[in-house]
Assembly symmetry: C2
Homo-oligomer: 416 residues x 2
């Protein structure tokens, strides 16, 4: 709908990334400059903030703090994991959202998140169309998992990938420092898609790659894994760095962390429950080889390590937010911003924002192409490196204050 | 001994830090410029490299790579945990070292490490004195644990502290993002001294500190801990960030990580390999509160995260190495370089390198003053912040190549 005049509502949803707030900065900066947008609201905890009529008046924020959002990890407005029922089954929430949108004359709605969040965004968009409330709805992608359908890559992925590659390099130097055997197993996030784990392969570009990489796209065989590690150790002075996805599973589809979990927990920690698959495999290798081992879980750090953010990612995330606003003001709706990969005449990568119908994205997972995984299922090809390397270029981090990052501090004044 | 002319031997020992190679760069740069030093050797894997006659001719290295050492984590020459017997009991190793020193006319010996390494350095120094081999021996301190006696602080500590504070800030933003309960328990290294764990308190300076901090300097009571977490949650929207040292123990001295399971493995010095207490406590809190919890072990990253190194630390580590060489050439021996804290007339911190007899350092552990721990034993005072904050100032990291750090690559040509 062209020439809509009214307020805009923006919400953040799903797991944090290092750059989700950069998209927020893009949305806010662009929205505050648009004549058709009469007020800019940021929903507290995404869709729940709208349901509860809790959202912040962004015009009350200092521009400096909005600028710092670009370098501030996690979701500054608060995030949420709230699944809307199908409107056909129960439209209570939808009615409430419509009521709030009418009360505040919300004519622009932007939702920033991954698969589930795009599903939410799609459902709201469709309900508003059916109800006849004129509103332009645009989804802004975000996920460290990089598993959204249709887009070349997702904002947030590259910074997490850079964190993982950088950490693999540093751990590589650390773990191989002694003249004694050492097997180090690093666990990255990713239940079904192995994009994050694959990022370990980037470390190889500067000569400090992982020896073995296992993705959830292929079945994981425990015995083969032990053999793989032994083979690397035999060639490599009894040193091995393996990187595994939390979602690796056996040929029956059972997660390794579940199939081995209880037994390993009893063996190593009495009644205590073990953390993740890295510890389990580290204990297994120790048992089988007698070598010193270490399991490392990259945990929350891989998704909030904004001090290692990719400048390319930060800028693309910002532009995705700004483009969502510009598209909506142009009259686009029911779409999401996606990324298209281009190269200039010198062969330099650049990104182009394009629009895709929201319903294409919702709840479809994009996995690492099987052709990028080697035949043995224990490493990643250079095709992946060619794909990911342009995305992790450049540094962009918060300014230092007291030797530590100065992250954005929002006033968070509730809109009335 | 003044006006000694001969080769210098340098070795790295003990656990890596982000800046141990910066001290190496300081030693090498200074040694290569000294007329009295006829050759510069870097021992492969510390003392073991000397015993095996495996050391590198540093004059063969490119200056650019030696410069990059300043920003390269871990021990570029290889480290070691090898305990020399007392010379009175078994002098085999000492005789061999003397033999190698004579063969290569080694007249300057520099050893870079923590408590155990200073003990090794001291033993070698005393044996050489007894044996009548003229050699100037200077220890260069290094340890993320910050537990060396006599020195204001240790090279390597500040960078690890900065990593921990920075990570606590980022995890703080991430873990508190949802509108649901979340207790996050972060585990830092430190068996007996809580310096690293205390560094979590620095995050408070920029408004994102930990709620609870537990050091091994005081007894840890499980029930009190559960109460502490519940109290924080009650005040704080059911959110809590607690940081614990791997070495926390109950009033009987039993490690918390062991009280829940069998004895951990031990290294060649007989130190237990700790770890896993964050998961144990996270599971405990989950059991007691039903809240979502997460245990995070900062693992190797805290000691090799050179991308977050403190510039102050990098420069001080370099100067400690350079000063060791200058002092030895001046005729000093049987000493180690230590740091003395000073303030200029404007109140700005600066460090002064001074010398201390080696035997004072060996095997004495410096702990966090009890006066810096609050009465409840669950937080750290501002006195600690005043102590640590000047040390973490400034960034210093390796240049980017392919979007990732370009660490030093040594040729490692064996000396003949």
């Amino acid at each position: 709908m062209i020439n809509l005049k009214g307020a805009c509502m923006f919400g953040q949803s799903g797991g944090p990334t290092s750059v989700i707030n950069s998209s927020a900065a893009g949305v806010f900066t662009e929205a505050l400059s648009q004549d058709n947008i009469t007020a800019v609201y940021g929903a507290e905890h995404g869709i729940v903030g709208i349901l509860n009529e809790k959202f912040f008046d962004i015009s009350k924020e200092d521009q400096r703090e909005l600028d710092l959002l670009k370098y501030t990890p996690s979701s500054a407005l608060g995030s949420v994991r709230y699944k809307l029922k199908d409107a056909d089954v129960d439209d209570t929430d939808y009615k409430r959202i419509l009521e709030v949108f009418k009360k505040y004359n919300v004519r622009y709605f932007f939702y920033n998140g991954g698969n589930d969040s795009m599903d939410t965004c799609n459902k709201i968009s469709k309900y508003m169309q059916k109800s006849g409330w004129d509103i332009n709805v645009i989804g802004v992608p975000k996920t460290i998992d990089n598993d959204l359908y249709g887009t070349d890559h997702c904002p947030g992925y590259a910074s997490a990938a850079k964190y993982i590659a950088n950490t693999v390099m540093e751990v590589n130097l650390d773990a191989k420092v002694y003249d004694t055997p050492m097997v180090c197993i690093i666990e990255a996030m990713g239940r079904h898609a192995g994009w994050l784990t694959a990022a370990a392969a980037l470390a190889k570009v500067n000569g400090l790659g992982a020896d073995l990489i296992y993705l959830p796209e292929v079945d994981f065989d425990i015995d083969k894994f032990v053999e793989d590690v032994k083979n690397v150790c035999a060639k490599n002075g009894n040193k091995c760095i393996a990187v595994v996805s939390e979602g690796i599973h056996n040929k029956d589809g059972q997660l390794i962390c579940e199939s081995f979990g209880p037994a390993a927990a009893r063996d190593s920690f009495g009644h205590a429950q073990l953390g993740g698959v890295a510890s389990i495999l580290a204990n297994l290798i120790k048992e089988k080889t007698g070598f010193k081992t270490r399991g490392i879980e990259l945990s929350l750090m891989q998704r909030c390590g904004a001090h290692l953010a990719s400048k390319t990612d930060v800028e693309e995330a910002f532009e995705a937010g700004a483009e969502a606003v510009r598209a909506a003001v142009r009259g686009e709706t029911d779409k999401m911003v996606i990324f298209e990969r281009h190269f200039d005449e010198k062969g330099n990568y650049y990104n182009k924002n394009v629009l895709m119908p929201l319903e294409y994205a919702a709840n479809t997972e994009k996995k690492v192409p099987l052709g990028w995984i080697n035949e043995e299922g224990n490493n990643i090809s250079d095709d992946f490196i060619a794909y990911a390397l342009p995305l992790i270029q450049g540094d962009a981090k918060a300014p230092l204050e007291n030797g530590l990052p100065r992250f954005a501090r929002l006033k968070k004044v509730y809109a009335k």
